[in-house]
Amino acid sequence: MRVNGKEETQGAGLTLEEYLKTKGYESNRVAVELNGEIVPRSHFSETVLRQEDALEIVSFVGGG
């Protein structure tokens, strides 16, 4: 699959929640788009990633 525009060999078959954890993201600080659609946090644990998916992950840091 493609993650943030780059080819990613791992991840297919994992849920989005598992993938984010594996990659060290904190799931409550990220916004995720899967194949151009925003994925609500409540769907992270039931969204299974596939080889053909394109994933965009934006992680936010504090301050404002």
Binding site: R29, V30, E33, I38, P40, R41, V61, G62, G63, G64
Partner: protein, 211 residues
């Protein structure tokens, strides 16, 4: 000197061009949070004559805000919505201001910003930033969201940029400089990020989607 709305409009037209000013005047923008980012964003949007502003915050002005937010010592203890409105009306009284004094949540955000074409995210907590994006992008299929991430410290301004990770999401800042025990917020860098958000907003209003 007595200044009329017509004089004010002409002054804006003189600076921005008549056609562009008409578009700005007809647009509606939301600001989510009125702290270091949002208080400055609101002022910049008002100066540019964005005709309709929806401004929301639950907080009151604290002495520890003065170092980077668009408030004065007279404002300490006042609601941020009330304090910023007082300032904005002195800058541009000819705008339709709508205020929401309360916490913005996944339940109410869609309603608060329902009329907006663009919302500027201006929270400080990363969880709140993520919540707003998820909520508004899902519920408002035409909305553009302009956000800030990474503005702490006194790192070079040259590391701060605007990116467009999703079709309708822009992120301003260096994406990494986080507030923490060793990293505080300094006025210039926070204000710079606010200006980046306001600039992206006016670009979108005028039809430019490139970050």
């Amino acid at each position: 000197m007595k200044i009329t709305e017509e004089m004010y409009r002409q002054a804006l037209e003189q600076r921005h061009g008549k056609e562009q000013q008409k578009i700005l005047e007809g647009s509606t923008v939301g600001v989510a949070g009125l702290g270091g980012l949002g208080s400055h964003i609101a002022v910049m949007l008002a100066r540019m004559g964005v005709g309709n502003l929806v401004l929301a915050d639950f907080d009151t002005v604290d002495l520890t805000n003065i170092h980077r937010q668009q408030y004065t010592l007279d404002d300490v203890g006042k609601k941020k919505t009330e304090a910023i409105l007082g300032y904005l009306k002195k800058v541009n009284p000819y705008i339709n201001y709508r205020i929401f004094d309360g916490k913005i949540t996944g339940e109410n955000a869609g309603e608060i910003y329902a009329d907006c074409q663009i919302v500027c995210e201006a929270f400080d907590q990363p969880q709140a930033k993520a919540m707003l994006i998820e909520t508004l992008l899902e519920r408002m299929p035409k909305l553009y969201l302009v956000t800030g991430s990474g503005m702490a410290g006194i790192g070079s301004a040259n590391t701060m940029e605007t990116s467009r990770p999703f079709q309708r999401l822009y992120v301003c800042g260096d994406k990494v400089s986080e507030v923490g025990e060793e990293e505080g917020l300094f006025s210039p860098r926070v204000t710079l990020c606010a200006a980046q958000e306001a600039l992206m907003t006016v670009r979108l209003i005028l039809g430019i989607t490139e970050p």
